[in-house]
């Protein structure tokens, strides 16, 4: 499997009036061709900041980055953090492309769709206007927009939400990137449209053997399309595993908490088991495990390390690791029963 993205110990902090915000606190993950890697978390988990870092999209001077972000540019690996402005612009839209959450605000209201699509191509292929337009129409057709010629002459406000997201996808694919970052691509869409878009993304991924980094908070979406999952909390990955393991054999209390609190369309109407409390402030992170104040399994951890030391990302299997002081075998035992109840 070709490796397309390797993030290693990424740390991102922002200077704010209230202090230094550690939005991302040591994140490592990889994405290979042909797979969809999901990064799941709630607001403040750091998932969006991570995705923006891959494209170097943070406002200059605002964010401090450390670690490495290796992007595969058609065979050559480049470290985004150490690239200069021109080099970063070179890989954006070409080696890696990104689609965002709200397609209405993400498209320029004053320019025609065809123009915006063509621009994506022209940025990396100077002067080839004719080619750009031909490719734009090709891409519109590929993503399922009927009457591409006519619609290329229209403006974003003349498209529906689902159509706009298709346009964004078309725009992202103009330069045949190998990697696609999708930041909450369906959150703003209706559920039937969401299904359409996710199906489209899967189809395109297979057709072009792309790697997709999917940022989302929706566990249903993760279950539908992800191959591997990274669960983030308070700026760190607290569990990484293949998708089935995350849902059927989670090893982090937070992951289990999420699974229990997500409403499901099942036959029974059981009360939801909410996670008490709220996510911690990213300015004054508590000492010890950031999830400890809300964790209901604390008593099972030896030496009460929960409140004093931060757990490392460990696991008996190389592909499934989690951060928790409770011994893995004990966790498996404790969680298995709860997961079974959930799926009954």
């Amino acid at each position: 499997m070709t490796e397309l993205l390797r993030i290693n110990d990424l740390k991102v902090s922002f200077k704010t009036d209230d202090g230094l915000v550690h939005a991302v606190d040591g994140v490592s993950l990889t994405v290979n061709a042909g797979e969809t890697v999901a990064v799941v978390g709630e607001s403040g988990s750091g998932k969006t900041v991570t995705s923006l870092s891959v494209m170097g999209l943070h406002k200059k001077g605002q964010a401090q980055l450390s670690g490495s972000i290796s992007v595969n540019d058609h065979g050559t690996f480049k470290d985004v953090i150490s690239l200069n402005d021109e080099e970063i612009r070179d890989i954006r839209g070409r080696a890696v492309a990104m689609i965002f959450q709200d397609p209405m605000s993400s498209l320029h209201p004053f320019y025609k769709i065809g123009n915006q699509l063509a621009e994506a191509y022209l940025v990396h292929n100077r002067g080839k206007k004719k080619e750009a337009m031909v490719r734009a129409l090709e891409m519109l057709e590929l993503v399922g927009i009927p009457e591409p010629k006519k619609r290329a002459e229209e403006f974003p406000h003349q498209f529906s939400g689902g159509m706009r997201q298709r346009v964004m996808i078309a725009m992202a694919l103009m330069n045949s990137p190998q990697m696609l970052i999708a930041d909450e691509p369906t959150t703003a869409l209706d559920v039937t449209v969401q299904a359409q878009i996710l199906t489209l993304l899967e189809k395109l991924k297979k057709e072009f053997n792309m790697g997709i980094l999917l940022i989302t908070h929706d566990l249903g979406v993760v279950a539908q399309v992800a191959d591997r999952v990274n669960v983030m909390y308070a700026g760190r990955i607290i569990e990484e595993a293949p998708v089935d393991d995350i849902f059927y054999a989670p090893l982090a209390p937070y992951t289990l908490g999420l699974l229990k609190s997500v409403p499901r369309v099942t036959a029974n109407n059981d009360r939801l088991k909410a996670i008490p409390g709220q996510p911690p402030s990213l300015i004054n992170l508590p000492v010890g495990c950031p999830f400890a104040p809300r964790c209901e399994y604390k008593e099972h951890s030896a030496e009460s390390g929960c409140n004093t030391t931060r757990p490392e990302l460990l696991g008996t299997s190389a592909t499934h690791r989690a951060r928790c002081h409770i011994p893995e075998s004990l966790r498996q035992e404790l969680f298995a029963k709860e997961v079974k109840e959930l799926l009954a």
């Binding site: 954006r92 839209g93 725009m171």
Partner: protein
């Protein structure tokens, strides 16, 4: 589209009628006799009543209004017999104080006001937008803070202070601009003299407006730069320069230009203070003088002119906005 334009045209005419009626009404309830003003010191009651008849002040108010309106299309004749005189169409009346047809008076002052307005407009747009761009680009650094200081000073200083200051220093003390100007020369006759004539008034006006536009441009640019579609452009690999000019500035220009259009319209009404300080015989000064002298015809005419310009500029600005912003278009 046609429907839209015809609706606007009807609205324009209605507004002008209402404006003129209001002005007329105000003058009719003022406690003075317009005929009494028609002659100077050596006035006798006989002359006054003769003038009253000649100018039509003896007629009932609505008839006077009707004569005024019809005068616009047909011209108007005053008096009768050998002493009669006519102001040809479009006639806005006759000014006794000046002994001239109002239309001619306006025809003389209009070019000056227009030159003043256009010159100031160009100057303040260049300075205002330019400074706004610099302030936004160097946000919170010294170019930004110094432009804020400029904005603060410029908005705090009233035009008569700026105007007088420029007059005193530049013209009188430093003698960069000659004091004894030979009056207005059009741009086409003698460009150098034209610029000499207008340069200080332009600066006076431009300072006040430039400040507003600097602030507005800066705020609009900063807000737009935070928009999602700017992030998308960057994500495509678009360079910062193109992001700034093609994506950001374009989005910001629409409201700026429309604002400018309306400000310009207001200036045509007459930049009264500036014209007075620099002794420019434009519409503003004309209006002011006519108000002091209760010269109804002139005041009426200039008010209607100002109202018309504002309405027409509004229309132009609306259409222009639709050209720039596709979301607003009437499809």
């Amino acid at each position: 589209m046609l429907k839209f334009l015809s609706q606007r045209a009807i609205f324009t005419i209605l507004t002008i009628l209402i404006v003129s009626a209001v002005v007329f009404g105000i003058f009719s309830i003022l406690p003075f006799d317009p005929a009494a003003l028609t002659c100077g010191q050596r006035c006798t009651d006989q002359i006054i009543s003769a003038n009253r008849i000649r100018l039509g002040f003896d007629k009932p108010i609505y008839e006077q209004y009707w004569l005024f309106l019809s005068g616009i299309f047909l011209g108007r004749t005053y008096g009768s017999g050998s002493a009669a005189f006519t102001c040809p169409a479009p006639s806005f009346g006759y000014s006794f104080n000046e002994n001239a047809c109002v239309t001619d008076m306006i025809r003389e002052s209009l070019p000056i006001t227009i030159s003043l307005a256009i010159g100031a407009l160009i100057m303040w747009l260049l300075v205002g937008i330019g400074l706004g761009i610099i302030a936004a680009k160097f946000k919170n650094r010294w170019p930004d803070t110094s432009s804020s200081v400029f904005v603060l000073l410029a908005t705090s200083l009233p035009t008569f202070v700026t105007g007088l200051a420029l007059l005193i220093w530049v013209t009188i003390k430093w003698k960069w601009v000659p004091l004894s100007l030979s009056g207005y020369t059009s741009l086409f006759e003698n460009p150098f003299k034209f610029f000499q004539y207008f340069i200080l008034p332009w600066i006076t006006l431009a300072i006040a407006y430039a400040a507003i536009y600097t602030r507005f441009t800066r705020a609009a640019l900063l807000e737009t730069l935070g928009e999602d579609y700017i992030r998308t452009a960057r994500a495509k690999g678009v360079g910062e320069r193109v992001v700034f000019f093609k994506h950001t500035l374009r989005a910001v220009l629409a409201p700026i230009i429309t604002l400018a259009g309306l400000d310009f319209a207001g200036l045509i009404g007459g930049a009264i203070i500036t014209e007075t300080i620099f002794n420019l015989p434009g519409l503003g000064r004309l209006t002011l003088r006519s108000v002091y002298e209760f010269d109804l015809s002139v005041v009426l005419a200039t008010t209607i002119l100002a109202a018309t310009v504002v309405i027409v500029m509004n229309l132009i600005v609306d259409l222009f906005y639709a050209v720039l912003d596709p979301r607003v278009r009437i499809t």
